[in-house]
Structures are given as C-alpha cells and as structure tokens.
Symmetry: C2
Amino acid sequence: MNSYRSLRIALLGAGSVGSQVARLLLEHGDEFAARVGAPLELVGIGVRDLDAKRDVELPRELLTTDLDTLVASADIVVELLGGIEPARTLLLEALAAGADVVTANKALVAAHGPELFAAAEIVGAQVAYEAAVAGAIPIIRPLEHSLAGDRVIRVMGIVNGTTNFILDRMHTEGSTLEESLAIATELGYAEADPTADIEGFDAASKATILASLAFHTEVPASEVHREGITGVTSDMVAQAERAGRVLKLVAICERLPAGEGQPGGAGDRVSARVHPVSLPATHPLAAVRQAMNAVFVTAEAAGDLMFYGAGAGGPETASAVLGDLVSIARRHVAGGPGTAGSTHAKLPLAPFGEVLARHEIALTVADQPGVLSVIAGLVALHGVSVESVRQDVRDGAATLVLGTHTATEARIADVLAALEQQDDVERIDSVIRLID
Amino acid sequence: MNSYRSLRIALLGAGSVGSQVARLLLEHGDEFAARVGAPLELVGIGVRDLDAKRDVELPRELLTTDLDTLVASADIVVELLGGIEPARTLLLEALAAGADVVTANKALVAAHGPELFAAAEIVGAQVAYEAAVAGAIPIIRPLEHSLAGDRVIRVMGIVNGTTNFILDRMHTEGSTLEESLAIATELGYAEADPTADIEGFDAASKATILASLAFHTEVPASEVHREGITGVTSDMVAQAERAGRVLKLVAICERLPAGEGQPGGAGDRVSARVHPVSLPATHPLAAVRQAMNAVFVTAEAAGDLMFYGAGAGGPETASAVLGDLVSIARRHVAGGPGTAGSTHAKLPLAPFGEVLARHEIALTVADQPGVLSVIAGLVALHGVSVESVRQDVRDGAATLVLGTHTATEARIADVLAALEQQDDVERIDSVIRLID
C-alpha cells in the first residue's frame, strides 16, 4: 500500500442505490483502499430530508442537506439524485472545481451529457456513468473502450426492466397489460406513476446515451423516436406466440448506409428509436425474462455480442456505481487526465421516416369477395411489397394479417393512413415491427 | 483534431488476427486518428517469413523479420505471435523502453502476466490483453474496471470455441467425439494437433487470467485443475439430453468461503478449474451454440451477468485488439501512467480436493439383488450422500446412475476409487459434475 492521501468522496442521494453505495463503501473500506491504492473516505451524504426512512441505516453524522458545501469539499462526487436539477448544477460546480464525477442519472446524461463532458475536459476531470444504462450490466465501458477500434452497426437493447416484466408476464401468464402493470407495481418493479417506463421515456434516454457512444455522434434525446407498450394488446401477444415470436420493448441504435448496401462508409447516418418489436423466440433477446436487461451489439469486425444482467435494483446498480468509482479513483491516484469517448464522427441523424423495417399489420375487414385484392393493391400503390398474408374469418368479420417486406417507416405510415380511409377496413387492429 | 504527433505502432505477427489488425489500421486510419486524437502510424509488421501466404495482402515495405529493431522504435507494440518466446522477451524489451503493449497471447499472459505487469508498472506503461480471453467479447475490461467495486463470487465461462463446437455437435447431430472433431478440423475450428483445445490447456490459460482478475490474486496456471473433453461419450450426451441437460466444457473460477456459509470474508479461498459440466437446458450458458463463447459472472452486488460473442476468428479477435489499442493510445495522448488491476488480495488457493460439486456417477453393475444396497453403503461410508438413483437393466447388465448431494472432490475421488475396487461394479461408465 502506498501512502497516497485519502480521496474525499461526496455521495449525493441516499435512496435504494445510494444507501447501498454508502453501505458497501463503509463496510468494505479496506478492500476499496487496496484496489485503488488510497483510502476512499466518504465525507458526506447529501439528502433532502435528514429523517427520511432508508433501506440501510446510515451514520447520522454523514448526512447533510447542504449539497453545495458537500460538493465543494470532494475529490469525487457520486450523484444519485436523479432528475435534471439540482444534479446538473451541482455536477457542473464539482467539475469546474476539478472533481471527478460518477453518476447513475440517465435523464441528466441523456439531456446534458455533452455539457458535462465538455466541463470535464476543460479541467481534465473524469465523468463515468456506467449505471445510467442497464444497471449492473457493463455496457458503457465496452462501447467506449472495448469496441473503440471497431465500427458498431447496431445496438438493440432491452433497457427497461418494468416494461420487460410486463411483456414477459403477458406472454407467460396470458394476462393483460393492465393486470401485468398492477403486479409490477405491487412487486416494486413499477413506480406509482409508470409513465416514464411504459411510454418509453426511460428507454429513450438510454437510447440517446447508447447511440452517442456507439456512433461517436451526439444524438439528442429529442431525435429519438419513441413508442411505449401501451398499444400492445393480449391479442398481439397471442398472435406472436402462435408465430413462435416474442414481443419486447427495445431501444434500437442503428447505423444506416448512405445509399444502397451495407453501412460502413463516411456518408452513413444514424438512427435511435424505442418501440415494441416482434422477435423470433430463438433470438438471444427473446430469452431475457422478468425485469432483466440485455444489450445486443452488432459490430463490423466483432460480429454479434450480448451483455446480460440486472437492469435495476439497489445493490445491482450500486455495483456499477462502485466500479466507476474505483476506476476513477485509480486514475486519480495514478495522475493524468480522464479520457472519454469522442463525438468526432458527427454523423447526420436519419429521420425516423427513412428507417427500414418489416411490419406486420393486422386489420379487421369486411368479409366480402375482393377485399384482399383491394387492400393488396392499396399497399402496392405506396411502394410497399407484401411478403405474406394470413386471413381468418370469425363472426362475420375477417381478420387480415399482412407481413410486409422491408420498407421505410414513411411508406408504412402512408399505407396505414390509406388503410384507415378504406371503407372495407373496419379497423387497424395492430402494427408491429418484425426483427429477424 | 489536435496536433499530437503520430503514435508509432509495431505489429508483431501477421496471421489471421494480425493481418486483419493491419488491414483495419490501414483502411480506417482517419477514423482511428479521430478517436484517439492522434494518427496511429503502423511502422512495421514483424513476421517470420516475408513470403508466407496471408489472409490479407499487406504492404511489402512494412514487413520485417527484424522484430527487435521494430519493437525498439515503437510507442505501442501489438503482439500477436502467440507462444511464450520470443513474445515474452520482445514485450519485456518494449516495456523497459517505456512502450505500451497490447497482446492477444493467452499462454503468455497466463504464464508471465505478473512479470509483464510489474515491468509495465516500473515505467508507468500499459498492458492490455482483452483479446486473450474469449476473442471479441469484452470480459477483461468489465472484470478489471466495471466490477472493480464489487466482489466476484464465480466466473464460469465457455472460453474454448473448438470444444464447444464439438460438444454442441454431439448434442445436435448425435455424432461421436471423433466425428465431431473431424468436422471441426475440416471447418478450421480445430487445429491439426487439437491437444491444446480438447485436453483443456487453452481453457486453463484463460481460467488463470480470469481468476487472477476476478479475485485480485495471482492464480498460477499450474494450480488450475484441468480435464478436457476426451472422456465425454455419446452415451453421456444422450443421458444428459434425456435429463433436459447439456454438456459443456467450462472454466470455473470460484471464491470459496473460509468455513461454512457464503463467500465474502477475508478468509475466503479461490479455485480455478476446467472440466466438463452438465447444465440444465435453461441455463444461459446452455444456449451457447457452435463455436461461440460466453462468460457467466456472479458477483455479490451485481448478481448474475453474462457476456456472449465470438471467441475466435480473425476480424472478431482483431476487434478486441484494436479496442485495446485505441484505449491505450488515448491514454498515451492524454498522459499519465497506465492503471491496472491489482493482486493485492492474495487469497489462498483452495486445493482441488476441497472444491464442492454435485456429481452424477454412472456404473455398470452386476444384475443381482443387494447390489444397490452395497453401493449405497459404500458411498455413504465416504461421507457422500446420494440424492437420486436411477436403475436400468439391459442385456443382463444393470446400469446405476447415482446423483450425489454436494460433496468435496476429494470425497468423490475416494468414492470412485472404492467403487473401482468393488466386485459388483463392472465398470464406472462416466462421472459428470452437475451445475444447477
């Protein structure tokens, strides 16, 4: 052990993750000191309410509501407050003072990552945020470092545990979205207001972060196309099951070729989007059950990679936070500035309308001769070619399930608008994108 | 782009991985320069034979057989020669001169890792070896950094593609070990002399590396218990199939508790071993097909994580090598010494005899009354308790399959020795360890 002075750690937030971070830092102090080469001294825990009930009992003398003063005294600030403010201002203050930063705050990194990274670069400080995406799963570091010599083509991730739990339950128990959400809430997987999860806002924040890293390009959260799971019905789940498929909410970050052909050139564009997809049951992501997370990465040289693990949970997320803390502290002791991924590529963003996908469109149509021909003609008119048609007659109404060949989202949107205008079409029951 | 001078890269070896590394460096030079903040200049490629046939055509003027001179001129040396010498001496020379090192050489890192790391520490140089374990899969960096704040309990990996291909084929095609090996050789998955793969030497090198990283403890290759797949028969595969199980060759690195109870204390010991296991078909590792690799990690706080991808292949392994190269080059440009994982913990190694496992022992026994009772008594005499017995009579001989409760390897070895002495036991057909 060398005689490096203690590193002063300020912890902001003592919720389910923060209280575990504090506990592990206090309990395993010797082990952290040995790994880092210097003791990590927890100098304070910034909280809103000194008397709030916590998962873990924390030393009273460490708690403070004066977050500004706490931050000003730290070598490394660990931010687990969540939300944009006051987290953003506190971290900018910390970075301006030369402190390093660890954060698990996906909303903040998605919205203000570039601002934080720029502030860090000025003083040579480090910003780490492994816990901001997919909890315990190492994915930020692999994208930033391990794949730094490769060209990422696609990142497709189950990055929201709540919605995965709900969809998984709809598949395994045959329950409705509402029932599954109720269970998720009961078990603590869903928050009282589940909007951020089920409408895909949470996954969209993560898509922003993943796309920016994967493509060395700033991808603003506002550019992420977002659809949640509220449109997923029991019928859609049952239909997927019959076809040997599984519905999942995924964040897809994709490099799109400039013209025809494979991505890889300078004219490529990038897309980030969140929506439900239908996966073959044999796809590695289809096996991701309950509230687990997984990220499937395809790179030009590396081929397919998958990273699987717990996407949330106090101790699980604390593991990622502490991994960042130890790595940053080692660098602090060794000296030299932080190094970060770059956004040098500045690839243009492809509008969602130009993204390609295969769709499955289920319609209820009038049960009379010639309808199929009318609809097929209408679809063809918009330049979309039909790969498969399944027809099913029940109670006088006919269901038509059209599987399209790969087409742009814009063409599919036109097709759907035209179908809605069609007299023979009673209603569009569902639209789902297919992944091979 | 700043105006940092070029970094001089020396590449040693131009086999299937080396030639891909050279190709990508030459083709994507601008992209590497942007990611690093300085151009990466490939100053030479050290080879044994200037005229050897290669996967990729390389600029003749870069090839050299004078490896010593090449290494002496480099900022970063990328070693893809394989084997211990001359790789070891060349890298020690490079490190002594202050150069950073990237290597994919598992045998070298397993046997001489500590020597290389010590040489690097003296001058503040970096050693990276992501490609040495599980090809394209990021596993070294996650263990060294992402899990640096957690306590790893177990690492269980399919880290040899050749043996996974063979076992997978035995399962899916019902072919014998010999037939599967022949196909593996034909397809280029197995080398002309397959000993290093099928006898588990390759996996054992990787177990050494993984265990040392996971437990912050030097684990010498000589301490890794090693069994290959040559004892795996078609009967064993068929029997596993019937029980809903899959046979896999795995490297297991485990933290064993000091006494009773869970690991986690200061008195813990570590074990690293390679042998076939029987996994439930639902285990994530059971789904790893063909020549793919995967590493399943269990940590105290993070829980279960899995890393999946291609374990070999020229471009795939080149991806890992180039990821290391870019990361190291960024640090080179930023300044400051390298930081490495530590071996501070110095946990004692548990002898293989003290490792715990459940075993399934298949015996051919005399088909006469009382045999089961004799054998059950003999097993109990050695302190091993039997969880299940299946009996099967065919052609006058009876097969007895004993499933044991968890017992130490030493006790199981005693049981097997005693069974061999037993007159009623015609032969021990197979022994396989069960993973839940």
